[in-house]
């Protein structure tokens, strides 16, 4: 036995549940973290630029590209005719999303052709020289326009129904109806979409893509090239942000780069300009919610009937599951005894809306919280009291069944909310604010404490699977690969912690490698907050297999029982002796033990029947609560967020500092969605807010002036997730709703809190002022 000395350490660096910095932090701050545009370009790399539709809806009568082709540096112009396979990138197989338009355009900014030039600048300049003749067709860009024009639905709607909503609405002591508009949101990942396609021999092509879904990009590229998936390798080391915007939307750029690369047999890089990225790619769906509520004088909900109509854009993309998830979260945290919810996924002549952090859930929840506000102002109570009155109950209370017939089994709402109510001093501050407002003619304040309950799992059951590949090299170093992608959320770090923890080795031994369809196949998108749940478990499974082989080997070699082999920090105890991890690995290698394993995981317990509206779509729920205080200026509608307190549930955190980063960032992004981020299309169907000069995401000076963020350290996932942790990507996004509601309360002060202000989102200064004016006029 090798008894070489080793550094005796009580613990490893980077176990599960440790607050480890992001694995790339050092590279981020030195500028050495490599994004696709930073990679050395293969010799002869060409560059692509898009030619876009200048009409919202029109027949294409003629396309004259002669000036484009004659422009300096132009090598080729790619149109649909150059696509060897299928001219379609519909992510759901419905064939409603051409890669390049041919005879018809359905939104302003739809790609029609691609210029391939020696330089990006040359390609961009040439792309503007096309002459295209159109015959205009009627267009509509928003939900009202779609409804007025009898727009088709892009996908069949979903209905959720439980109880007897028709009769119980009639029987309710009080009823009201209302309507709410909820705006969309641009992802504004700092790194725009980008792909680099490098042609290989045979039908091969390697594509570096900034995507959350390498497997889908692989499939799309194979479809448009009419080749098998095995010819296409898609790699993703890191994205400069994704937020859902790179779940399906990266495919366009990857496919077009691949088509050009194969046609010209040269590497092709495709990086759209920010404005083009914003005009072409989909966004968060806007919604209009039409609702009827039945309740009693106490404020208890009896029945809810609501329709969630969505601006889906010109194709279906992910609009089906997005609008489904809106309905799944229209209950927010509340038990609706009788309920009827319907979605209306409307076709509009705009870019095709897509996934965005929360995936329809936030819009559903904003609707649900509006219901609470309506009732609170109607019965004259603090909205928080109405919330608590209507929370889901504990098992056995008869108040645990969701509109989709899943039991809420892990409810921690009341504990969470009451802890935050106390720690934020909500009651006293609300009282003080009401006193302040009574004596303040111009500046008014508001405060709101809102909960989050978010269902975790892809509602498409099949997507809840993941793979990982772990190699232990004979020097004891470990190569980790899995199907999840890194977009800044720290997934790579967390999964590396899982592997380090499993082997009990320092995390520095674990090399995190770029996600590649050649290493782990058939992966799901890194989406639905599922990254660490799925890939953490898959990586654990791979590491566990190798570890078991090492144990089996040690038992055999040193004739001990399995219980006598113990993985200690960076060493292994075998009987009464210990040896280093490296030594054990080397010995195992010489004994011809396989030191590589593919891991796999699928989420248990879940199932969903969409047609019946029944099942268990979610493995578990993540919870949270936020309390925000704002001040508004009733002369201009401007406002400030003075303070926010957050208590959020991530189960037993895999990495508390990374999770807190997710919570803070998600809150600010959610707040931005509901306040200053406004998408604006003009009468010609042109998106006019297509750059940061016109589309305003929050700045450092917009974050709450006082910002207290805590994790609910006592929480532990009741399901057997990796380390009993919970998903963190999306749920805290909806903590931002507290800001919208606080603004609403400040406006409500104008009419002495007797009228629900019906403040729509985004609550820009203009919407706040108009709501103030409306209440003043009452």
């Amino acid at each position: 036995m090798d008894n070489t000395t080793f550094e005796a350490k009580g613990t490893i660096t980077g176990p599960m549940h440790a607050s480890l910095k992001h694995d790339s932090a050092h590279k981020h701050v030195t500028g050495s973290a490599e994004y696709i545009d930073d990679m050395p370009e293969p010799a002869g790399t060409l560059h692509a630029a898009l030619g876009l539709s200048e009409r919202a809806h029109a027949d294409i009568l003629a396309i004259d590209l002669s000036a484009v082709k004659a422009a300096p540096g132009v090598v080729a112009v790619i149109t649909a005719d150059d696509i060897p396979g299928v001219n379609d990138v519909s992510s759901n197989g419905s064939h409603d999303e051409p890669l390049l338009a041919t005879t018809k355009v359905e939104f302003h900014g739809q790609p029609i052709f691609v210029v391939i030039g020696e330089t990006r600048d040359q390609a961009r300049r040439a792309a503007r020289l096309a002459r295209i003749d159109y015959r205009d067709l009627p267009h509509w860009t928003d939900i009202d326009g779609a409804l007025e024009n009898g727009a088709p639905l892009v996908v069949s709607p979903m209905t959720l129904k439980r109880g007897e909503p028709e009769t119980e609405m009639g029987n309710a002591p009080r009823r009201l109806t209302g309507q709410m508009y909820i705006g969309g949101q641009e992802h504004f990942y700092l790194e725009s979409q980008i792909a680099l396609a490098i042609p290989g021999e045979d039908e091969d092509v390697t594509v570096w893509s900034s995507t959350q879904h390498p497997t889908e990009v692989q499939h799309m590229v194979a479809h448009v090239l009419a080749c098998a998936s095995h010819a296409v390798t898609v790699n993703t080391r890191r994205m400069g942000g994704g937020f859902g915007g790179k779940e399906t939307q990266g495919a366009h750029f990857a496919c077009l780069a691949a088509v050009a690369a194969k046609k010209l047999n040269r590497a092709v890089k495709f990086r759209p300009d920010r404005d083009e990225d914003m005009m072409v790619t989909g966004k968060r769906h806007d919604f209009r919610v039409d609702y009827e509520l039945g309740f009693d004088d106490e404020g208890r909900i009896h029945a809810v009937d609501a329709t969630f109509a969505a601006r889906c854009g010109f194709s279906s993309d992910l609009s089906g599951p997005v609008t489904d998830r809106a309905l799944f979260h229209a209950d927010s945290s509340y038990f609706y005894p009788h309920v009827h919810l319907t979605s209306k996924p409307l076709k509009t002549h705009t870019c095709s809306n897509t996934a965005f952090r929360g995936f329809g859930g936030p819009q559903g929840m904003v609707g649900g919280e509006r219901f609470i506000e309506e009732i609170a102002y109607a019965v004259g109570k603090d909205p928080l009291d109405i919330r608590k009155l209507n929370f889901y109950g504990e098992p056995g209370s008869g108040r645990t069944l969701t509109p989709y017939h899943q039991e809420v089994e892990d409810n921690i709402l009341l504990r969470l909310v009451e802890e935050l109510e106390t720690s934020s001093d909500y009651r006293a501050r609300r009282q003080a604010i009401m006193e302040f407002n009574a004596n303040s003619p111009v500046i008014r304040k508001g405060i709101a404490l809102t909960p989050v309950k978010f269902g975790i799992s892809f509602t498409m059951t099949a997507f809840n699977q993941a793979g990982a590949l772990v190699h232990v090299y004979s020097d004891g170093s470990i190569h980790l690969n899995h199907g999840g992608t890194e977009m800044g959320q720290g997934l790579y770090t967390k999964v590396a912690q899982v592997v380090a923890d499993t082997f009990q080795v320092d995390i520095e031994r674990v090399k995190i490698t770029a996600t590649s369809t050649g290493k782990v196949p058939n992966t799901s998108a890194t989406a639905a907050s599922s990254g660490s749940d799925l890939n953490g478990m898959a990586a654990y499974d791979a590491a566990r297999q190798i570890k078991e082989r090492l144990i089996e080997f040690a038992c055999r070699k040193w004739q001990v029982a399995a219980s006598d082999v113990e993985f200690l920090p960076n060493r292994v105890r075998v009987g009464t002796d210990t040896l280093t991890f490296d030594a054990l690995v080397k010995a195992a290698y010489f004994d011809r033990v396989q030191l590589s394993a593919a891991g796999f995981y699928k989420t248990p317990k879940i199932h969903w029947d969409r047609a019946a509206g029944r099942g268990r779509p979610f493995y578990y729920f993540a919870y949270g609560a936020a309390c925000s205080e704002v001040s508004i200026d009733t002369l201009t509608g401007e406002y400030l967020v003075d303070r926010t307190d957050i208590l959020h549930d991530v189960g037993r955190s895999l990495n508390p500092v990374i999770d807190i980063g997710q919570v803070e960032g998600a809150f600010v992004q959610g707040m931005g969605w509901l306040t200053t981020e406004e998408l604006w299309w003009d009468g010609k169907g042109r998106l006019r807010t297509h750059a940061p000069s016109t589309y305003k995401i929050p700045l450092a000076s917009d974050r709450p002036k006082i910002f207290n963020v805590k994790l609910a350290e006592w929480s532990e996932n009741r399901e057997q997730t990796i380390g009993r942790s919970k998903a963190v990507g999306e749920p805290p996004f909806m903590l931002g709703i507290s800001v919208l509601e606080a603004l609403s309360m400040a406006v409500a002060s104008i009419a002495d809190y007797t009228v629900c202000p019906r403040l729509d989102a985004p609550a820009t200064p203009e919407r706040v002022l108009m709501a103030v004016e409306r209440l003043k006029a009452m």
């Binding site: 910095k21 992001h22 790339s24 932090a25 050092h26 590279k27 981020h28 701050v29 030195t30 500028g31 050495s32 490599e34 545009d37 050395p40 600048d121 503007r128 504004f188 990942y189 700092l190 790194e191 890191r238 400069g240 942000g241 920010r274 003619p441 111009v442 977009m487 800044g488 200026d633 002369l635 201009t636 509608g637 400030l640 990374i658 980063g661 803070e664 960032g665 998600a666 600010v668 992004q669 200053t676 406004e678 604006w680 750059a691 940061p692 000069s693 016109t694 305003k696 995401i697 929050p698 700045l699 450092a700 000076s701 917009d702 974050r703 002036k705 200064p765 203009e766 002022l769 108009m770």
Partner: protein, 490 residues
């Protein structure tokens, strides 16, 4: 005549005679030098991912300023020191304290914006030993982060300020004397530099007189000072501008002097340079300047440019018109001065003749008895373009009646425009709540605002009226305004 510009890039002296007049610094760094730490996030100076520092000699001192490399043209770099994120870490690989603080505070997630934040924090760290939270936020107005929610980045700024490390560690402090000497050498010549590529020309005149002559010879030339607007003509509209005349290095245009006529501000003075003087003159103007663009834009953009480009939504024109400012234009034929409001003729049309350039503007001496306020209204408080911007100047006579009154708005018409009807309705009347209430509708005579993505016509009309109310409350000492920081916190 010289045909190359000279500057220092990180540790290397560069002589460059091969560039197009509209080549951006960011493209030069990334494509030609493979310095890929600086990122392109928006190519319009709004996100800050491309932030680098540019050091230049100002009045004998070497001052470093954060700028947006994406809209800064290479031709504007003559005699400067460009510092990119690659230059920060020590030669042995140790992180610069600013970088280390970002790591320690978990200030990066996706990391794409991070090099830009590091450079903005570095600029702040050099300029301000102990920044307040308010000052940190102002320094970060030009940097967007979509992941972190900013809290850890602000904490990093505080942490690095609290533990100031040895100056020897810092690459700029280490080489300051040497760099200064190099820049002095470059600037000893006042020859005009012309660089031609693909039949397009960058002209860097050595003196004001040379500028006048260049413009006389090239009346169609585009004058570029800060490039915060012209940069977008190139990166977004891809306008083939030619020739391009750079004036940002002309120190004669960068003077601020005070005499009996008032405050004279050279057209090449940047917002950042003007801030201190203007704030002392008119605190309201200082507050406005702090909300123009981000720090990088304020370091590049000039007040002269804000006027010369004639935008109806430029922030300084209404504020300056209300103060009764005049503008002086110069050409080989001489100079002429006119009231600033007369410079703006119509949408897209200014009173600037071929061959003329804006030389300076003059603010009348402040009147201690006068009331002056500027209110900028935008969707997002900082780094946004005004939906509307209202400026009010008022003096009262002995009876408390309105004596002089100048009200000007941006965002309400095709040009920055005075509210003549409102002014007339107010003049001579008691400055009272009743008067203010009675003149509100006169705004409709002055302005028929448009609806666009920044605001509806209705919102603009209501808010303009309400800003008069705000102004009245302020003059009456009953001001109620939102303030993120108390004065003592700022």
């Amino acid at each position: 005549m010289t045909s190359a510009i000279r500057f220092v890039l990180n540790g290397e002296e560069v002589s460059l005679g091969d560039f197009a007049p509209t080549e951006t610094l960011l493209d030069y760094l990334r494509l030609r030098r493979r310095l890929t730490g600086s990122k392109e996030g928006c190519a319009e100076g709004d996100c800050g991912a491309c932030t680098v520092l540019v050091g230049r000699l100002i009045g004998g001192a070497l001052r470093y300023e954060s700028v947006n490399a994406c809209i800064r043209f290479v031709g504007s770099l003559h005699g400067t020191h460009v510092v990119t994120v690659e230059h920060l870490a020590a030669r042995d690989g140790r992180l610069h304290p600013v970088q280390q603080a970002m790591v320690d505070c978990h200030g990066s997630q996706c990391g794409f914006c991070t090099p830009g934040f590091v450079m903005s924090l570095y600029g702040l760290w050099m300029a301000n030993e102990n920044p307040s939270r308010a000052e940190i936020e102002i320094a970060l107005q030009g940097n967007l982060c979509r992941c972190t929610g900013y809290e850890p980045i602000v904490k990093a700024a505080e942490q690095v300020a609290a533990a100031r490390p040895s100056a020897l560690f810092d690459p700029i402090e280490r080489d300051r004397a040497e760099i200064m000497a190099k820049l002095w050498t470059i600037r000893t010549s006042s020859d005009t530099i012309r660089v031609e590529k693909d039949n397009r020309q960058a002209i860097i005149p050595g003196t004001l007189q040379a500028l006048a002559e260049v413009l006389s010879d090239n009346p169609g030339a585009t004058i570029v000072a800060g490039a915060t607007d012209v940069g977008l003509w190139v990166t977004k509209q891809m306008r083939p501008i030619n020739p391009v005349v750079f004036i940002n290095h002309l120190t004669d245009l960068q003077t601020i002097t005070e005499d009996e006529t008032g405050l004279v501000i050279g057209a090449g003075v940047t917002y950042a340079q003007a801030f201190e003087v203007l704030e002392a003159y008119h605190p309201a103007l200082g507050r406005l300047i702090d909300r123009i663009g981000g720090q990088q834009v304020r370091n590049m953009g000039t007040i002269g440019g804000n006027i010369a480009n004639g935008s109806p939504i430029g922030d300084t024109p209404p504020a300056l018109i209300a103060l009764g400012a005049t503008v002086t234009l110069r050409s080989t034929a001489g100079s002429r001065t006119l009231p600033l409001e007369d410079f703006f003729i119509d949408y897209g049309r200014q009173d600037r003749q071929p061959g003329e350039f804006v030389e300076k503007l003059t603010l009348p001496p402040p009147d201690d008895e006068a009331f002056y306020a500027v209110y900028k209204i935008s969707k997002r408080r900082d780094e946004d373009i005004s939906a509307l911007c209202g400026a009010f100047y008022l003096t009262l006579d002995g009876e408390g009646c309105v004596d002089t009154c100048r009200i000007a708005f941006g965002g309400m018409a095709g040009i920055p425009k005075r509210a003549k009807a409102v002014e007339e309705a107010l003049t001579g009347r008691p400055w009272s709540w009743n008067t203010v209430a009675s003149v509100r509708d006169a705004f409709d005579e002055d302005y028929q605002p448009l609806t666009d993505w920044r605001a509806t016509a209705e919102y603009r009309a209501i808010t303009a009226r309400n800003l008069l109310t705000r102004f009245f409350l302020e003059t009456a000492g009953q001001s109620q305004e939102l303030a993120r920081f108390e004065p003592e916190e700022a």
